[in-house]
Symmetry: C2
Subunit: 217 residues, 2 copies
DNA sequence: TTAAATATTTAGGATAAGCTAATAATTTTT
DNA sequence: AAAAATTATTAGCTTATCCTAAATATTTAA
């Protein structure tokens, strides 16, 4: 059907698309996948030929309906496998990503369906991210990550995913705690790091940090 | 570590090696993997450079100790995943192969270990094949497949893996039943089909058939 | 023991997916 | 609005893995 590489691009575009309304840029994809921009241009052309994305030279790409369906199928598999690893095989939530990156490419509709059933059709994965169903529908997200907010959005911190002491110390240093109001001043396309305003002070947060901070809007 | 393709070659050579004492031929590998002989020659050279096989031009290959270890690691994963699919996800034994062919290439030592533990450290897979442990040791095989016999070996049919009516009709037509004595007259290198003598009659059996017939020696 | 048949290897291409360096388009700054 | 900076694309290479066709070894048969 699709190569692993194609699936990785579709997934990357899907995730990046949730951060901007306009086309996903070549450079953001290349940063996300850790490849060179020239390689992205090439792949993006191939995806466009296969009608998985709409591509406007110099203006980035957007997933087509078909492209989005496939991206969601991969996201679904990724999150189901993460759930399996944590819930059944005693992995820690921070150990599963790499393995799920491999497992998400296994091709078998029956496998996904049976795995979903076996796990009790979970709605959220171990990171709190919603798991799309077989039709690509995702449940409402009760928790939203800070990383999911867009430029200009405001929110209030409601929880932290990573409870490691180093992370909590880091938060304290940045004056972030439960209930802290934040406003997204800017998102760096390159590494998805975020500048947020907290009580008239601006602080820089890495994607790793914003992925682990939950907010209410 | 190794590519999927390399792993597939190692596994193929491992299986074929159990059928002959001398080197595994280019053509038998190419038949097993459904590739052209020229491609095999090329890959085999690469495996030899990596010290995974000993390769003598025109005289086939044999796994080195390292090569065998890796082949066994792949076989272990394949059989553990087959067990998982059948025991936990309600697959039928004849549906699992393709999926396990993909899953066997997932790279994570922890995953294999946890999966093994989760399944209760099974000794045999759903086809009755022994599962190597983490060190590559396999339990004694109580059942031996007809396909595992070599030219000249004799055996007595002790069971059949596939219970489909078409298979049983096929066996009846060939005069094979429980207790039937067979002698291996010849094994075709090309497709691993076997000529066996049953009461002075010689019959041809495909690899698919001999894989599903268990014998005592 | 040579000729014919078969098996294996080599040579030369193809495709997917990556890279670097050079060029071109867009965006930002002055 | 032109110059400078940034971003994207193109051109040309590389590697892995496969292929076909041609050449070479080995094996079998006459």
């Amino acid at each position: 059907m699709f190569t692993q590489s194609e699936e990785n691009y579709l997934k990357a575009i899907f995730h990046l698309q949730q951060q901007t309304d306009d086309g996903v840029s070549t450079s953001s994809i290349s940063a996300h996948l850790d490849t060179k921009a020239a390689s992205v241009t090439e792949m993006v052309k191939r995806l466009a030929e296969k009608k998985l994305v709409d591509y406007q030279k110099y203006y980035g790409v957007q997933l087509t309906e078909t492209g989005k369906e496939h991206a969601l199928a991969v996201v679904r598999k990724h999150r189901l496998w993460e759930s399996f690893l944590v819930d059944r095989l005693h992995f820690n939530w921070d150990e599963v990503h790499e393995v799920a990156e491999q497992l998400e490419h296994i091709k078998s509709i029956k496998l996904v369906e049976e795995l979903d059933k076996f796990l009790g059709r979970p709605a959220y994965d171990p990171h709190g991210d919603p798991i799309p169903d077989a039709h690509g529908n995702m449940p409402e997200v009760p928790k939203k990550k800070l990383s999911q907010l867009r430029k200009g959005d405001r929110g209030t911190c409601k929880g932290f995913n990573d409870a490691s002491s180093s992370f909590l110390k880091y938060l304290a240093k940045q004056q972030i705690g439960l209930g802290t109001a934040v406003e997204v001043v800017n998102i760096e396309k390159f590494d998805e790091s975020m500048t947020v305003r907290i009580e008239d002070e601006e602080v820089q947060l890495s994607k790793t940090a914003t992925d682990n901070i939950y907010v209410d809007q």
